[in-house]
């Protein structure tokens, strides 16, 4: 088997990732050459049997790696900005907690700006505000980070921010309107005011993509923080429910796609949700357009690659990385159908494959997560949809609506007790280190080799190459 036949975009994605990762080290031409070499290396090692006509396809494939890498590298060079005072109107695209401050992204005539405000400023998503201050380079808002540490400037660039803004005054001009952000603000307010604590924290994450600090800290302790980030899990569960509900409807794929895209927009278009939605969309379209089911590995690569083409900074977005890594491992391990053993193996491999990335972001990862994740996905694929339904009577103001809500609160509490007990038994934490990173890269390489059916020897070599080259992607 060869990725040329089963997942050609996986070769392209691997080259693009290498090329973008090298943008901080090499010039664009050198990075695109290195990306082609990485792509070619991956292809040569992971191919067990070459399909007919491969000699004609190979140069095209390598060109498809190197040319976009060159242009993406050019785009990765941030626009230079001279410090400039500015006063005018902007609207708040997003706002979230950032240490002791509120991080607010502003859509303004000066571009998309990031501004760190004191919490009492109480900015609201969707508000039009009058601001004055100084436009500054984004990096100057944060202290210096060393290589391998979390880089806040990259994080915000992945969110589309161009410049920083040192705000000296901010005043609301218009309340949140009927934009998407206005709807999100209203929904958030309703959830915050109506629901019980644990249901509120989980539904806030599942419906708006925002994190309740207390619930987020609990999930970080348990190693299940990914459940609060809208990702393939949420989109997949909702998609499965919608498909089941619409199973007798003629245009079920069209309606399901529209509703799922609506959900992704409502939750703030997180990169992980967009990747999952792109993959689901390809899954729906494959049989219609190509007349055959699309390869899951290829679909993950296409969806992840399209997001990189739109915004290359997403390569450093932890949501994008964890989402793509998890999806690649899952698709590889459960190829040919889901069985209990494959499900178990996929859960373990995903935990090991993402622990390097997660520990680099959170400094440590709890070993309890390895156990808890075996139960968390089935448990939350039940808890979240049922809690969403149970919350509707209260949100709609029906009398007696609190009865199912408190029932759900009890179930979330029971999960919290179980998770806390597990953490007491398995209380070790694994600290971030280059070795852990390289180990995770080797797991990803090995899992992908298994998914591509490369054979044991080729798989081992690919895994070793991933181990030694993993540092490039850090």
């Amino acid at each position: 088997m060869s990725p040329l036949a089963s997942a050609p975009f996986l070769v392209i994605l691997s080259g693009w990732c290498a090329g973008i990762a090298l943008s901080t080290k090499l010039s664009p031409p050198a990075a695109s050459l290195a990306a082609s070499l990485f792509g070619a290396g991956f292809l040569l090692i992971s191919t067990k049997r070459w399909p007919p006509g491969w000699k004609r396809v190979l140069p095209v494939l390598l060109l498809t790696v190197s040319l976009p890498v060159f242009f993406m590298n050019l785009r990765l060079h941030p626009k230079t900005v001279r410090e400039e005072s500015w006063m005018g109107q902007a609207w708040i695209r997003t706002e979230r907690a950032w240490g002791s401050k509120r991080a607010v992204t502003l859509a303004s005539p000066k571009g998309r700006l990031l501004c760190l405000l004191e919490p009492e400023a109480r900015p609201l998503e969707g508000e039009r505000v009058q601001v004055s201050g100084t436009v500054v380079p984004l990096e100057s808002l944060f202290s210096v980070t060393s290589e391998g540490e979390f880089d806040p400037a990259r994080y915000w660039r992945a969110k589309g921010v161009e410049f920083g803004f040192r705000c000296s005054s901010v005043a609301a001009v218009d309340p949140p309107g009927n934009r998407k952000t206005g709807w999100r603000t209203r929904l958030r307010k309703k959830l915050l005011l109506s629901l019980s604590p644990l249901v509120r924290g989980h539904l806030l994450a599942a419906w708006t993509g925002e994190k309740d600090p207390e619930v987020a800290s609990m999930h970080r302790r348990w190693g299940t923080a990914h459940l609060l980030a809208v990702s393939g899990f949420h989109v997949g569960v909702l998609g499965a429910i919608l498909l089941w509900c619409l199973r007798r409807f003629r245009f079920k794929l069209l309606v399901c796609s529209s509703l799922l895209w609506g959900y992704v927009f409502l939750t703030g278009c997180a990169s992980s949700a967009c990747r999952a939605m792109g993959m689901i969309q390809l899954g729906f379209l494959g049989p219609v357009l190509a007349g055959r089911p699309s390869s899951p590995l290829n679909s993950v690569s296409v969806a992840g690659g399209i997001l990189l083409l739109i915004n290359p900074w997403l390569f450093w977005d932890i949501g994008w990385r964890l989402s793509v890594i998890s999806a690649l491992i899952l698709c590889s391990v459960v190829r040919g159908g889901v069985t209990p053993m494959r499900g178990l193996a996929a859960s373990l491999a995903i935990w090991m494959g993402t622990s390097g990335e997660a520990s680099a972001a959170f400094e440590t990862v709890p070993l309890a997560g390895l156990v808890l994740n075996l139960f968390a996905l089935p448990a939350f694929s039940f808890l979240l949809p049922v809690a969403s339904v149970a919350a509707i009577p209260v949100l709609a103001g029906f009398p007696g609506g609190w009865v199912p809500l408190w029932g759900m609160e009890g179930l979330f509490e029971a999960w919290a007790r179980f998770a806390d007990c597990t953490c007491m038994v398995v209380q070790w934490q694994i600290a971030s280190s280059p070795w852990l990173w390289n180990f995770s890269a080797a797991i990803v390489g090995g899992a992908v080799a298994y998914g591509l059916e490369t054979g044991v020897s080729n798989g081992l070599i690919l895994s070793l190459c991933a181990f030694f080259c993993g540092g490039v992607f850090r």
Partner: protein, 224 residues
């Protein structure tokens, strides 16, 4: 060539690709054919941070958003800009701005402005009056040439110094050897005993000795 030999050849070629890529990264890392193409290129982080710290010390404390710390001025400065700018008049600018920022707010310089005799990098003061001269104009030519920036910058030796009778706590902290406690002690002293008449009066503040005074003497200003 049999299949086994072919497989070994392809795997060897793959490993060679990785090795060449690795060599490329090792050999060319940090060597750019032009300019500084990324946000992290140019001077190293440590050097850039040192440069930024120096700039911040020179420019005074950064302006923080919100209005929680009473020691940090959150209100904008007002300056009066006249002469060869597109829209002369009262301009509102963020604290610690420089002249080019005020000129930008006034719509930029006119074609007649004497660019060579205006220091656009000059630091401004709240409530100041800046006149941008025209080409060939001398300070005596215009009635309103109260305070041309070029003149002020060349003759005013106190530019950039910190007035200890008016400075905020954050501004005082930018002096070498002055931390939050000592800055607060200076403010408490001038509130309790009145303004300092001369730099030596700072010796009455607990924590400032002759050595420290000597160190900061050239950086401070004592206005009644």
């Amino acid at each position: 060539m049999d299949d086994r030999k072919k497989a070994v050849l392809f795997i060897s070629a793959g490993l060679l690709c990785f090795a060449v890529a690795w060599g490329l990264v090792r050999g060319f890392s940090g060597k750019w054919p032009w300019g500084a193409p990324t946000g992290v290129a140019g001077p190293s982080w440590s050097v850039r941070q040192a440069m930024r710290a120096t700039e911040e010390t020179e420019a005074g404390p950064p302006v923080s958003a919100g209005k929680t710390d009473p020691a940090v001025p959150a209100e904008n400065w007002i300056v009066y800009l006249t002469g060869e700018v597109q829209r002369p008049g009262i301009i509102e600018i963020p604290p610690n701005s420089r002249l080019f920022q005020a000129v930008e707010k006034a719509g930029g310089l006119t074609a007649r402005a004497d660019r060579d005799n205006v220091n656009l990098a000059a630091k401004l003061e709240d409530g100041g009056h800046i006149h941008i001269p025209a080409v060939g104009q001398t300070p005596e030519d215009g009635k309103n040439l109260l305070n041309t920036v070029s003149e002020r910058m060349s003759t005013n030796p106190s530019a950039g110094r910190i007035d200890v009778n008016r400075a905020t706590r954050a501004e005082l902290e930018s002096l070498p050897g002055v931390g939050p406690k000592l800055a607060q002690a200076i403010i408490d002293d001038r509130t309790a005993n009145g303004p300092f008449a001369r730099p030596e009066d700072l010796l009455r503040v607990k924590g400032i000795g002759p050595a420290k005074l000597e160190k900061i003497k050239e950086m401070i200003l004592v206005r009644p």
